[in-house]
């Protein structure tokens, strides 16, 4: 069995069941083009009358959009009545296909899912071949809304009694995604509010700083944040009710009181236990085993360098200096005798735990040590070791041990403290939800102040006044470039080239080998600046090939569209979109007529130069 149905068989099957016209949604542009190629040798030829109708309709469209006149796909479309429609095509060609479909001349269109959102042309049937869609490099499952958007193209009002959505499998299809999509409720939509630099500048231009919080509060983002905050407030109210039995007792804030008391108690308890693990003889010795003390070990004698207790070690440990300057570790239990002799020892926090001088001196003194040294008499107390003073002190401070409500506190503490923690957490999140937009705004304000677009009093500076007119992506980078005078004296083609590399956000590869030295050095400057701005703004892709392509198009007015397309591997539609996006950016720069007349003039020249040929056809 083939992994997916052959396009020719698919169309044959649809025609047989009278399910045409149909839109066949395929995974990629390439899949659409390949599907079209399979018809090259298939003998699915339309009757002459219909071929003629397509030709007539196309001619009528050509009057408006001359660029499709010589389109290489025309003969095939005419012969089979099927076309491909995707972002790789020129807008005028897409318009032609849409028009043919609307007039009912086509039996099927192979399209990518972008069509579902972008264009309005219905058919009797849609064919779905995939359950995921490519979104910025990764494939993600179609959402319910997307599936319904796709299926929604099926069934033309007034032309069909019913519409059909037909699933045909291809590898990696997940049928459950599609059935869920067809039968489910579309997802709720969420605000994607972001605060951009031009937004801050424009808001501050029109409104005083203290009004901004009120304006931000009008956003759908804040509306949804408030919804969440209200939910939390409800929870908070519920918690409040639950907290009622745990109100003030003998002390007002008994939860904290008990918490500290309990902590102190536990703390004491734990200390007590570690001491207990050592025999009274050993613990009695510990205070004497200080650095510089001479001790007798199983074999020979040594001088204590440090006493420590490490995790996982049951016993207290000693680091001992042995004869021949050896440094060894041994448990306190290994000490046979504690002698009545100590030497001065300058301690250090790292190996060998004393200063080099001391170390040399101690090694010397150890060798000089007389054979008999008196043993230190150590009194062993067999009673319970008294608590360290600090703890006794603090436990004594607590009224709890004798308090009448002690049993109640002890019993309720776990629940009450959990409830109170939840309360505190909710209160904090509510506060964050209510103020987060404002904080994000303030962050942007600070950056703009740092760069000198805003005064410390949040007034627009001279630079801020014109910078607010640049309302596109990477606006900070563009305004910084203008301030750095990167474009001064640059001719329209260079300006267009750089703006194209900023505007283009597609990572589909294209190739253009030659790049002019002027453009490449300017791009290098832009890249350096973009990197330095990266903490404040995501750097653009800055593709050199698209910059070079646009530069050529602007610099060489004799270059035809076909000639331009031959220069690169990019699809026609992508080149068109690149130029259209560049136009958008240029038109923003063009608005700086008053402050930067030279630059604005250069931009408007570039606009005129870009707008020729295919780009002249559509507004």
């Amino acid at each position: 069995m083939p992994p997916s149905i052959h396009p020719v068989d698919l169309i044959t099957a649809l025609r047989q069941k009278h399910l045409t016209p149909a839109i066949v949604f395929l995974t990629s542009r390439r899949a659409c083009d390949e599907a079209m190629e399979t018809f090259d040798h298939a003998d699915l030829v339309l009757p002459p009358a219909r071929q003629e109708a397509i030709a007539v309709a196309l001619e009528r469209i050509t009057v408006q959009h001359p660029s499709i006149a010589e389109h290489p796909l025309i003969p095939l479309v005419r012969r089979i009545g099927i076309a491909a429609h995707h972002a790789g095509h020129l807008p005028s060609w897409k318009i032609a296909i849409e028009e043919l479909m609307r007039q009912g001349h086509l039996d099927a269109v192979f399209a990518t899912t972008t069509l579902a959102a972008g264009v309005d042309f219905p058919a009797r049937t849609v064919v779905i071949t995939q359950s995921s869609i490519r979104k910025s490099r990764d494939f993600t499952d179609l959402t319910i809304g997307e599936v319904q958007q796709i299926a929604g193209r099926a069934g033309r009002r007034g032309k069909d009694h019913v519409g059909f959505a037909i699933v045909t499998p291809s590898p990696y299809i997940d049928l459950a995604v599609l059935t869920k999509g067809l039968t489910g409720q579309p997802e709720a939509i969420n605000s994607q509010f972001t605060i951009s630099y031009p937004m801050v500048l424009n808001l501050l231009k029109a409104h005083p700083h203290e009004q901004i919080q009120g304006i931000l509060a009008k956003s759908f983002a804040q509306f949804q944040l408030n919804q969440r905050a209200e939910l939390l407030e409800q929870k908070l109210d519920a918690l409040h009710v639950q907290m009622e039995p745990f109100g003030p007792r003998v002390c007002t804030d008994w939860i904290t009181q008990w918490h500290t008391f309990d902590h102190a108690r536990r703390h004491r308890h734990m200390r007590h236990q570690t001491h207990r693990s050592e025999s009274p003889e050993i613990s009695a010795r510990l205070p004497f085993l200080t650095p510089g003390r001479v001790v007798g070990l199983g074999r020979g004698r040594g001088i204590v360098l440090r006493q420590y207790r490490s995790k996982g070690q049951k016993n207290s440990m000693l680091t001992v200096l042995r004869p021949d300057s050896a440094v060894t570790e041994c448990p306190v239990t290994g000490v046979k005798e504690v002698y009545d002799r100590t030497y001065d020892c300058a301690e250090t926090p790292t190996y060998p735990w004393c200063s080099t001088d001391t170390f040399d001196r101690l090694s010397h003194q150890l060798e000089e040590l007389p054979s008999h040294v008196p043993v230190l008499p150590i009194l062993v107390s067999l009673g319970i070791e008294p608590l360290p003073d600090a703890i006794v002190q603090s436990l004594g401070d607590f009224p709890c041990p004798t308090c009448p409500s002690r049993p109640a506190c002890q019993k309720d503490f776990a629940t009450a403290s959990r409830l109170r923690q939840e309360q505190q957490r909710h209160t904090k999140s509510i506060q964050a939800l209510r103020t987060s937009l404002w904080h994000r705004f303030q962050e942007r304000v600070e950056v703009l102040q740092q760069f000198g677009y805003l005064t410390p009093a949040t007034q627009l500076t001279i630079d801020g006044e014109w910078a607010r007119l640049i309302r596109i992506d990477h606006s900070l980078l563009i305004t910084e470039l203008i301030r750095a005078e990167a474009f001064t004296g640059a001719d329209p083609s260079l300006l267009a080239g750089v703006l194209a590399s900023l505007a283009h956000d597609d990572d589909r590869p294209g190739a253009f080998p030659r790049i002019s030295p002027g453009l490449s050095s300017l791009l290098g400057q832009v890249r350096k600046l973009a990197e330095s701005l990266s903490p404040y703004e995501d750097p653009p892709l800055l593709r050199a090939d698209v910059a070079a392509l646009v530069e050529r198009w602007v610099a060489d007015p004799t270059l035809t569209w076909i000639g331009l397309c031959r220069l690169t591997t990019m699809a026609e539609g992508d080149i068109y979109r690149l130029l259209a996006r560049t136009l958008e950016f240029l038109s923003q720069v063009q608005t700086l007529k008053v402050t930067h007349p030279g630059l604005a003039e250069s931009a408007s020249q570039a606009i005129t130069l870009i707008r020729r040929g295919v780009l002249e056809e559509l507004p």
Binding site: M1, P2, I5, D9, T12, K17, H18, L19, P91, K94, I95, A117, V119, D120, P122, V127, G145, Q149, G152, R153, A154, G155, R156, R157, G158, K159, D160, H161, V162, G163, F164, A165, I166, V167, P169, P171, D174, T179, L182, T183, G184, P186, A188, I189, N190, S191, Q192, T194, M199, N202, A206, S219, F220, Q224, Q227, R468, R471, A580, S587, L618
Partner: protein, 370 residues
């Protein structure tokens, strides 16, 4: 006795069957053997095997209120099948079902599919072009238009329900009052399509289009632009560089408003709505979304009037889902004729079988994904 036998086995033409009254259906059900009723009840009535014949008929009738056509067509299939079986059965001495070769009929190999699920022919029925009828606006369209006289309106309806009609009528009414109308779409391509379409409807002089670097007919009362352009206009107006036309602005139509949730551009819709002049009505057109009420509530909270939500989920042209196997076999995707909303697992048994087969053959590990 003879009469009942005839009516029980008679091949009733589908048209008369589909037009049965409840009483007729009940009588017909009562005439069927209980085994057939159990087969009919499979997938329809929960724990049907515990119910007696009377109760079973009752439950089936109760269920038939949701999908009468499906029940009747299945009943018809079952009766037909029984009829053909009893014919072949009568020729043999035993009352065992006749042994038919596996490939004899596609229906026979998959008895399950015939029981509760819709057949392909039933699924394809009704396909065709309706006779031309004068255009009558749907009730929701009228509702939206009359609401727009007083308030802002949010419309959330399935794709292809006729949102454009509302936009066109609303624009026409606003222009009759000498008010400016702005229509925005998320994409330049859509703007161009709408420009052509509206020029055709209102005449080329009445419609203008604005892009970043170009204006065509910029003084026309109906202006088409992308949402970004409108946002920029509103910012310029807010900072004092007033475009005089905004004073006469009567209606702003935001098409494809579900773009509000677009990760990169959604913010533009919010800015546009926040800064939209209060004297202009807002008309938000959106595909089906999960929370249109939220959008309406939001508009109510920031605008001077109470926003009206118009929503429905019923498609104007009903939709059916099918499954086309790579070998060219077409089956309905779901057991029911229409889309079983809320029941994604109600797959057609034949489709289920074919798809499992497909997964086993194509997945490298030979193990289904879920």
């Amino acid at each position: 006795m003879r009469d009942t036998a005839v009516s029980r086995f008679a091949r009733v033409p589908p048209v008369s069957l589909f037009a049965m009254t409840t009483d007729e259906l009940e009588t017909l059900l009562a005439q069927q053997p209980v085994a057939l009723l159990h087969r009919l009840a499979r997938g329809r009535v929960h724990r049907h095997f515990r119910a007696g014949k009377r109760r079973l008929i009752e439950l089936l009738l109760q269920h038939s209120s949701q999908n009468r056509a499906g029940l009747e067509s299945d009943l018809q299939t079952l009766i037909g099948e029984r009829h053909s079986q009893s014919e072949s059965g009568s020729s043999s001495v035993h009352h065992l079902p006749a042994i038919t070769p596996k490939k004899a009929s596609p229906r026979g190999t998959e008895p399950e599919s015939a029981e509760t699920a819709i057949s392909l022919s039933g699924w394809l029925e009704g396909l065709g072009v309706p006779s031309p009828q004068p255009f009558v606006p749907d009730s929701w369209q009228n509702e939206a238009l009359s609401a727009l006289n007083e308030t802002d309106v949010v419309i959330s309806v399935p794709t292809g329900s006729g949102k454009t009609y509302v936009a066109v009528e609303a624009a026409r009414r606003a222009m009759e009052d000498n008010r400016t109308v702005i229509y925005t779409s998320p994409l330049k391509a859509l703007s161009n399509t709408k420009y052509t379409e509206f020029s055709r409807i209102f005449g080329p002089d009445t419609v203008g289009i604005l892009t970043g670097d170009r204006q065509e007919n910029g003084q026309a009362p109906l202006l088409i632009m992308t949402t970004e352009i409108l946002r920029n206009l509103l910012y310029d107006a807010a900072s004092g560089e007033i475009d005089v036309r905004l004073d006469t602005l009567g209606l702003v139509i935001l098409d494809e408003s579900q773009y509000l949730a677009d990760p990169e551009r959604g913010v533009v819709w919010e800015e546009t709505i926040i800064f939209c002049p209060s004297q202009a009505r807002l008309l938000l057109l959106s595909a089906s979304i999960g929370n249109p009420q939220d959008i309406a509530d939001w508009l109510t909270s920031i605008r001077s009037t109470v926003c009206r939500l118009v929503r429905h989920s019923k498609r104007t042209v009903p939709l059916r889902a099918g499954y086309l196997h790579p070998n060219g076999k077409l089956t309905p995707l779901f057991r029911t004729l229409g889309i079983p909303y809320g029941h994604p697992t109600h797959l057609h048994p034949e489709t289920k079988r074919l798809f499992l087969e497909y997964e086993e053959e194509t997945l490298p590990s030979g193990r289904p994904r879920r």
